[in-house]
């Protein structure tokens, strides 16, 4: 099979491979069939696999996520696409009270090998009902596994192990990453869905990011390198359960941490990570853990306001310099 470099293709290839590999796999969601997915992810799949396996659904998240759960209980391997994380709130009852709970309630009689893919994040001027990052809410729920691919390899490689997992897995695809392009070896296969990854090694400060904010952290790390500060970048990859070992191991080496989270600061995933660092690495800390999160407002529509509300590399750099430089530049 030839490998196309664009990520839009690799993500589609991942779904295509899954459909080819296991006849129990099917894709279901709003506009995934005839329209090809609202981000073009499933373009062409309807022609190849037919309407039984590429299923357009009504605009009813609760119904089609529930249908996915039922199918999974019945032995299928559904991939359910929810257009954005904002809309998954309509299906939250299904996700939490059923998907995350039925294995427990049934005394282990039912597994829920369901994958729910959804777009998350802002930056595309689609305003306050399509732009939020609610991973932190869903990461609160035991029984779910949450993945956030930030690289082409992860976008391609996370789907297969997610389908193989007997428990429900939510995959958060940051909207800004659909246009990222990268080369992958033809044999690039599945990746692990257990561990965080160190994307850039550094000695002075740990920047902890996931999904769309990994690029923010990397830009900040490059800028910091220019002023002699060596930043380590952690890509969380798995938002639940968190890979404490990688996070704490890094902070134990750098003694400083900035958590970058596109969610709102209050009650955020960044808050959880910050608390874990305090619990497990308090005596390693040489400065309070800092957080760079989105402004606590509904995501604005105008470009300049949207950018002002989002975590920016410059903000991360400022936080780090405050941490290491001792306050002001004066």
């Amino acid at each position: 099979m030839s490998v196309a470099p664009a990520k839009t293709i690799t993500l589609r290839e991942a779904i295509r491979e899954a459909l080819l590999a296991d006849e129990r796999v099917f894709l279901m969601g709003e506009d995934v069939g005839a329209y090809g997915g609202c981000f073009g992810v499933s373009k062409g799949l309807l022609d190849e696999f037919g309407p039984e396996r590429i299923r357009d659904t009504p605009l009813s998240e609760s119904a089609f996520v529930g249908a996915g759960i039922g199918a999974a209980m019945g032995g299928m391997r559904p991939i359910v696409e929810v257009m954005t994380v904002n809309f998954c709130l309509l299906a939250l009852d299904q996700i939490m009270n059923n998907a995350a709970t039925i294995t427990h309630m049934s005394g282990g009689q039912f597994a829920i090998p369901l994958v729910i893919r959804m777009t998350t994040g802002a930056g595309r001027q689609v305003a306050a009902q399509h732009s939020h990052s609610l991973e932190g809410w869903l990461a609160h729920i035991p029984g779910l596994k949450l993945l956030a691919p930030a690289t082409v390899a992860d976008a391609r490689g996370m789907l297969a192990p997610a389908l193989a997992d007997p428990n429900p897995v939510l995959i958060f695809e940051h909207g800004s990453l659909y246009n990222f392009e990268g080369e992958l070896p033809a044999d690039a296969g599945a990746v692990d869905i257990e561990r965080a990854a160190i994307r850039r090694a550094g000695a002075d400060v740990t920047l902890i990011a996931s999904g769309g904010t990994v690029a923010t952290a990397r830009s900040a790390a490059e800028a910091l390198a220019g002023v002699g500060i060596d930043a380590e970048v952690i890509d969380l990859r798995v938002l639940r359960p968190l890979d404490d070992q990688t996070i704490i191991g890094s902070v134990a080496r750098t003694h400083r941490a900035v958590v970058i989270d596109e969610g709102w600061r209050s009650g955020s995933l960044a808050a959880e990570i910050s608390a874990r660092i305090m619990e497990q690495a308090f005596y390693e800390l040489d400065a309070p853990v800092a957080r760079v999160c989105s402004a606590e407002v509904p995501m604005p529509y105008p470009h300049h306001l949207e950018q002002a509300a989002l975590p920016q590399p410059e903000t991360v750099v400022d936080e780090v310099r405050r941490m290491i430089g001792g306050g002001s530049d004066e």
């Binding site: 800390l285 040489d286 400065a287 001792g326 306050g327």
Partner: protein, 397 residues
């Protein structure tokens, strides 16, 4: 142990003026404490009955140590409510529940409003323990002046004192107060210059009207009550601050906090060297006579080493007048965590151009050193202008 100034790390109890069982009320002087700068009378900030004195006379303890415990006054059960957070009892449950339990003893004597534990990162604290480094001797370079591991390592490496693994937590009480004071001033001023982005403005103020008014006013006053020009200057600053609250207060934890009143820190030079700037409380509400008397009292007690704790910790801005020394102009260093310092040089006759004419008038150069984090030059300029305006109407001061 209250923090009697941003440069104080520890203090020694020299004398207790109260004993267990004594009833005290807010403002009473309960102890005499020696800092590296002076002997300070410590006031109490709560009404109550002394329960126990925890620090004996002669003991040196770090700032923040509990000195004594206090029972709230029994006649007023509401005091207990004021001290522990009030619990809302639904009306239906009935009033008796509210007053049933005896009030718990109040386990604190908050003698000063803001006692700051020194900021030390957990890693630095651990490193200091391992390296046997004395934290109180280190100036922090971390966020908000926190001591970091690098600071500890720097302090332990070149020519640092031999590490005594079980050295006492605090250094022995400094024998030489002069040296200790120089060290304290040095540390604080270095912190100020390192952390505070100062900006400076100056304004020459025509004092002809004020001096003339002062002459006439003094003719009416008994010799002992006569006013000096410095009283006018202090009063003008205090009254200008009423309109400029952003100059009157503190920069703490990355934000400005307005002062609870206008308490001018009056810089007093001490005999034999050194400097102290105790508070002239609520200076905006004092008459010129009261300001004059207040300053005289502060100077006397500062030089005798008998200042009170509130005078050490309360100043919301500093005013320094070096005119007596013949200086024309002061470029001040802000006293952290204050955000501004007003300086005055000598009142002199100088050439003054006004309305197309050159004349000779008594003038003073007023300067402002202000914290650019808290204000901008526009506000600073307005402040100096307001001081000038006050001085043009001395009868209102």
């Amino acid at each position: 142990m209250p923090s009697l100034g941003a440069d104080m790390e520890a203090g020694t109890v020299l004398e207790w003026y109260v004993k267990p069982g004594d009833t005290v009320k807010r403002g009473d002087i309960v102890a005499l404490v020696d800092t590296s700068k002076a002997e300070i009378e410590v006031e109490i900030f709560e009404d109550g009955v002394i329960d126990e004195l925890l620090v004996p006379v002669g003991e040196r303890v770090p700032v923040g140590t509990v000195l004594a415990t206090l029972h709230p006054v029994r006649a007023e059960p509401l005091v207990a409510v004021a001290v522990s957070p009030p619990v809302e009892v639904p009306a239906a449950v009935g009033a008796p529940a509210r007053l049933a339990a005896p009030p718990p003893p109040v386990m604190r004597v908050p003698a000063a409003p803001a006692t700051h534990r020194p900021r030390v990162s957990p890693l630095a604290r651990r490193a200091a323990e391992e390296l046997g480094v004395e934290l109180s001797a280190i100036t922090g370079s971390g966020p908000n002046g926190a001591i970091t591991k690098a600071d500890v390592e720097r302090a332990s490496s070149p020519g640092a004192r031999a590490a005594a693994p079980d050295a006492p937590l605090l250094p022995p009480e400094p024998v030489d107060r002069q040296a200790a004071m120089r060290e304290a001033i040095g540390a604080l001023m270095a912190r100020s210059k390192r952390e505070i982005p100062h900006y400076y403005l100056q304004l020459e103020i025509d004092l002809s009207g004020a001096i003339e008014w002062l002459h006439e006013e003094n003719l009416r006053r008994p010799v002992n009550d006569r006013l000096l020009p410095s009283a006018l200057l202090l009063s003008a600053v205090a009254r200008a601050l009423v309109e400029m609250p952003e100059m009157n207060g503190f920069w703490i934890d990355g934000q400005f906090r307005a002062g609870p009143g206008i308490h001018l820190g009056v810089a007093v030079s001490l005999r034999g060297g050194g400097l102290i700037a105790p508070a002239l409380h609520d200076a905006d509400q004092k008459s010129l006579g009261e300001i004059m008397a207040g300053v005289r009292d502060l100077v006397q007690r500062a030089r005798a080493g008998r200042l009170r704790s509130s005078e050490m910790s309360d100043p919301t801005i500093t005013v320094t007048n070096l005119g007596d020394r013949g200086v024309d102009l002061v470029h001040g260093v802000i006293y952290p965590p204050q955000v501004a310092l007003v300086g005055f040089g000598a009142v002199r006759e100088r050439p003054w151009a006004a309305e197309g004419m050159l004349g000779v008038r008594p003038t003073v150069l007023a300067t402002l050193a202000a914290d650019h984090r808290a204000s901008d030059g526009h506000a600073g300029g307005r402040f100096l202008t307001l001081i000038n305006r006050q001085l043009q109407k001395p009868e209102n001061l």
